[in-house]
Symmetry: C2
Subunit: 255 residues, 2 copies
């Protein structure tokens, strides 16, 4: 398959690497910043371009992997493309691509950074397409990368994306706040590693409803008040501690 990869960010980088690893050919890598296009094109043995007019109009598949908030405007400005055009954004409706003859969504549901390579076999890929032919084509490609391919409507993808903000972005923010707290007390963040691993491991086999521990879940007011005194005036720690503690308390009471 002749694939054009549009974008050079975290998702484009990891998806490109996975595609090449599985033997697919990426004929062009587009980025508005030519240096970024070159860095990724070099990794993928591909050709870097930075003008839309240079886009190969005869490719079979265009994967548009640019920032979610820039996507609509970016797509409006693309030339006519005959192949399948798909985007990789969790939160954007498939219909933003309806000016093309063939379109769909190819959403690898994972958090990506450029530097850390990902085992794509374990990455769920969620697909949506405007017709069966396009769907089958995206399905074939997705199954060459991952063991976990499924269909999801734009609405389901939107809800999954919000859930992922909680389970990934907000979780990382919790890690970050605890690192700040440990820095202040001269302790190493590494001390938390086994706890972080165990907390994550548990919910892979048990529902998080059953694995909640800590002062709020047992309504231990003595400790909660002690922690609130320790964090007094220290924002954002104090307000987040208060907010999340109240939320856990409310859920524990409603059990």
């Amino acid at each position: 398959m002749n694939i054009v990869l549009i974008g050079s960010g975290n998702v484009a980088t990891q998806l490109g690497l996975a595609l090449v690893k599985r033997g697919h050919r990426i004929s062009q890598v587009f980025s508005r910043t030519h240096t970024n296009a070159e860095v990724l094109a070099n990794k993928l043995s591909s050709k870097a371009i930075s003008c839309k007019s240079e886009l190969n109009l005869q490719a079979e598949l265009y994967i548009v992997s640019v920032k979610d908030d820039a996507l609509v405007e970016f797509i409006a400005d693309l030339p006519e493309l005959k192949g399948i055009v798909c985007h990789t954004a969790g939160s954007v409706d498939v219909q933003v691509l309806n000016r093309f003859d063939q379109y769909g969504v190819f959403y690898p549901f994972q958090t990506f950074t450029k530097e850390k390579q990902v085992d794509f076999k374990q990455v769920p890929i969620l697909l949506e397409a405007d017709n069966d032919k396009v769907y089958k084509c995206l399905l074939k490609l997705a199954e060459s990368l991952s063991d976990k391919v499924s269909k999801a409507s734009s609405q389901q993808r939107g809800q999954l994306h919000v859930a992922a903000v909680f389970a990934c972005n907000f979780v990382n923010h919790m890690y970050r706040l605890s690192e700040d707290l440990l820095d202040d007390s001269g302790l190493s963040f590494e001390l938390l590693n086994p706890l972080i691993k165990e907390t994550a491991d548990k919910v892979m086999s048990l529902s998080p409803r059953l694995t909640q521990t800590g002062p709020a879940s047992r309504n231990d007011q003595l400790i909660i008040q002690k922690h609130m005194r320790l964090l007094k005036g220290n924002e954002p720690f104090e307000s987040i501690y208060k907010n999340l503690t109240e939320s856990i308390l409310a859920l524990s009471k409603s059990k």
Copy 2:
């Protein structure tokens, strides 16, 4: 060593199992609820007791592992004990034990549930003692269980405990909220497993300051507003989304 284990909760259970596995002898298991004492004593080939008057006064070590908020009152009501008395609570000062001749803290820094056995070799154990002799004794015991033993003052332990609330209890609460969101949209929580694993794995090798992703970290207002509309009126999701998004935005700006 002749050890008496006081308590039958998550920490007492996992610590007891680890001690027995390493060949230590637990002569008594105390719990105010006799059935609980019996369940754990059976697992540890030990004797169940539920009256403080039955406590063996000649043991070398008493490990008091009761709820943090019940600890002070519980200790006040213990008989005179000649051996070392230590507690396992992250957030309680070592001085609550100063009525005993020999005392200390033996704090296994991990989240425990009764049902899921833990590899104690990887559990950091933080120690504190009123004198060197007691410290050496606790150190020997701790090193027989874990490769990660270190000293921490009561103050450091207190700060570590707050950090752990963020990195474990609040993280689990985020998992739980995303499970609720997925339930509402007919998707399986399992879809999140690779994302949860990757998010946790990353911060074992990179600082969470470097691994923050998502709409807030790139100030993607289009997506943030879309998510806020999706969550409108749905508490606690809406207020937590708003609070944590603002916190991530503030940190990104101060970079």
